[in-house]
């Protein structure tokens, strides 16, 4: 498998990718570097609106890295940089000076269509939930309200409604409605993770990125989280990195299989699990390696 085998066009050899007008988020020909070490090679990923897209592959294959490019969280670390395009509703979001220079160096001649410079707004539209729950050291209410207070000027009443609705959508309301003033840290692991989902939902993102959100959860909490995601995809697009193949099969519409920084296969989940095209994917799905 060479790097050239996985551009967006080539994906058609596996299955027709989501139609362009249905794409909510799209990564095109991404390279990624930790310092001088390249960890992603020409990776593309279409994310269809109101679908769940799963990323699978052995540890270190670049799934999380890809996810971290999609909302530019990698940019917090000076040693890390991405080269390529990420489009949110057709508008470029990797438009910082560094990326542009490197795009030119790589020989890309495309003209970008920038969404805007405000990275804070971009991140508000693309929410992220991490592997370990990351409740802030404040009350449950303030956790959920954190992003809302940041971006919108809401009255107390409106804020109350948003908090309640977000907790409902994350399927946590019934468990916490009587203790909104208690610390977010007082919840169980599964509840904390759903609190983080609620916190992300409160700012009404279009896309929700989840980086192995269930790996620290017990089966019951995992099931609840999965139900929540299935429910949420009515309103937004979801990208989920997971080590749990059954989980990917259960909840996702599309699945990308990554290996050593390459997108080896991307197609509908049913198709990938039933008839993987490549030997690597087949071996991984049948547990022969990884």
């Amino acid at each position: 498998m060479t790097n050239k085998d996985n551009t967006v066009e080539d994906l058609e050899q596996f299955i027709a990718p989501p139609a362009a007008e249905n794409l909510n988020l799209e990564a095109r020909n991404l390279d990624f570097y930790y310092g001088t070490h390249q960890t992603l090679f020409n990776v593309s990923l279409p994310v269809e609106r109101n679908k769940i897209t799963a990323l699978i592959g052995p540890s270190g294959c670049g799934k999380s890295t890809l996810l971290r490019i999609l909302n530019r969280i990698y940019a917090l670390y000076p040693q890390q940089y991405a080269v390529g395009r990420v489009l949110l509703d057709g508008k470029d979001i990797l438009t910082d000076h560094d990326t542009l220079t490197r795009l030119k160096e790589r020989g890309d001649t495309v003209t970008l269509d920038p969404l805007g410079d405000d990275i804070s707004q971009i991140r508000a539209r693309i929410g992220m939930v991490f592997q370990k729950p990351t409740p802030f050291p404040m009350s449950i209410y303030d956790n959920v309200a954190y992003g809302v207070r940041l971006h919108f000027n809401k009255s107390r009443q409106e804020l109350d409604q948003i908090v309640e609705r977000s907790l409902h959508r994350a399927a946590l309301w019934d468990e916490v409605k009587d203790k909104l003033k208690e610390s977010g840290l007082s919840l169980s692991g599964g509840q904390q993770q759903r609190l983080c989902v609620a916190r992300g939902l409160a700012v009404e993102p279009e896309v929700l990125l989840l980086d192995e959100p269930a790996s620290a959860l017990d089966p019951v909490s995992t099931a609840r989280l999965e139900e929540t995601l299935m429910e949420l995809k009515k309103d937004l697009s979801i990208v989920i990195v997971t080590h749990n193949l059954q989980q990917a099969a259960r909840i996702s519409d599309y699945t990308g299989f990554m290996y050593l920084g390459n997108m080896i296969e991307f197609c509908s989940t049913d198709r990938l699990f039933a008839r993987p095209k490549t030997r690597r994917a087949r071996d991984y799905l049948t547990g022969r390696f990884g």
């Binding site: 929410g127 991490f130 990351t134 802030f136 954190y146």
Partner: protein, 278 residues
């Protein structure tokens, strides 16, 4: 079998040595506290807190020294905590892997172990000589210089303990780095930051040398920070070396007060950090 016996023997010896050294260390502490209580507790009257230090042969207390100590320590801690937390935050959050940051970090560690008399001399040169006079403020600055590296170091360590995902979660919601630090990271590290402050305070509350060069000492009560000011350590220093029994008794009382204050602060710090850990 014989190797088994040998192993057990070595184990016994090792445990015995450990216990012995622990006993020695704790024993020393007990001896110090014991002699402080034996010699100091007897002189602990209300007058210690209500009267200023006496001339030889007169009755008196330590009010001016106690208040002076508190005043200078409070000012010093305000300076040290503000600067120390800022510096520690910069080192931990903003200067990651930069050469400049590493250099500052190293220098701060050097500052941690600078002899206090050097700090006293330094402040004497920059604050006492130019203004032709000893002042409580110069004393507070020299104490702040001693406490600040401790606060800086503790702040740095405590912020480093906060997981990166917490920062990413904050910034992932669109918050700026500064806001994430102020509204999330500091809060999460609050018990640790408090401990740093208390450690710094414990360090400076008994410092004598820097105060001799800066605040000098004052046998009268004053709250004017531009004048020389008395303090417990300098008064103990003066009284303990004197030939008068009543002065030496007061020195014991002063020493007991400092020891108790440090002990209380440390216990308070422990309790508060434990409360924060949940």
């Amino acid at each position: 079998m014989s190797s088994n016996l040998k192993r057990r023997f070595i184990n016994k010896v090792f445990v015995a040595l450990c216990s012995l050294s622990t006993l020695l260390a704790v024993g020393m502490l007990a001896l110090i506290l014991g002699s402080l209580i034996v010699n100091g507790a007897g002189g602990l009257h209300l007058s210690v807190f209500t009267q200023d230090q006496p001339s030889p042969g007169m009755s008196g207390g330590l009010r001016n020294a106690i208040i002076g100590s508190i005043a200078m320590c409070v000012v010093a801690m305000i300076i040290a905590v503000v600067l120390g937390i800022m510096a520690g935050t910069w080192l931990s959050e903003y200067s990651r892997n930069s050469k400049y940051g590493q250099a500052i970090h190293f220098l701060n560690d050097v500052l941690l172990s600078v002899p206090s008399i050097l700090v006293g001399l330094f402040v004497y040169e920059i604050m006492v000589r130019p203004f032709h006079g000893f002042s409580a403020f110069a004393g507070a600055v020299s104490l702040a210089l001693l406490a600040m590296p401790i606060v800086t170091r503790t702040t740095y360590d405590m912020l480093q303990l906060q997981p990166n995902t917490l920062r990413e979660a904050g910034m992932g919601l669109g918050a700026s780095q500064g806001l994430v630090i102020r509204s999330i990271i500091w809060k999460a590290a609050a018990p640790g930051l408090l401990t740093g402050g208390l450690l710094g305070f414990a360090r400076i509350s008994g410092e004598t040398a820097p105060l001799l060069f800066t605040a000098l000492g004052n046998q009268f009560l004053t709250l004017n920070m531009t004048e020389p000011m008395g303090s417990l350590p300098t008064t103990i220093f003066q009284f303990a070396m004197s030939a008068y029994d009543d002065w030496r008794n007061l020195a014991w009382v002063g020493a007991l007060l400092i020891a108790m204050a440090v002990l209380t602060i440390n216990i308070l710090g422990r309790v508060m950090t434990r409360g924060g850990k949940r």
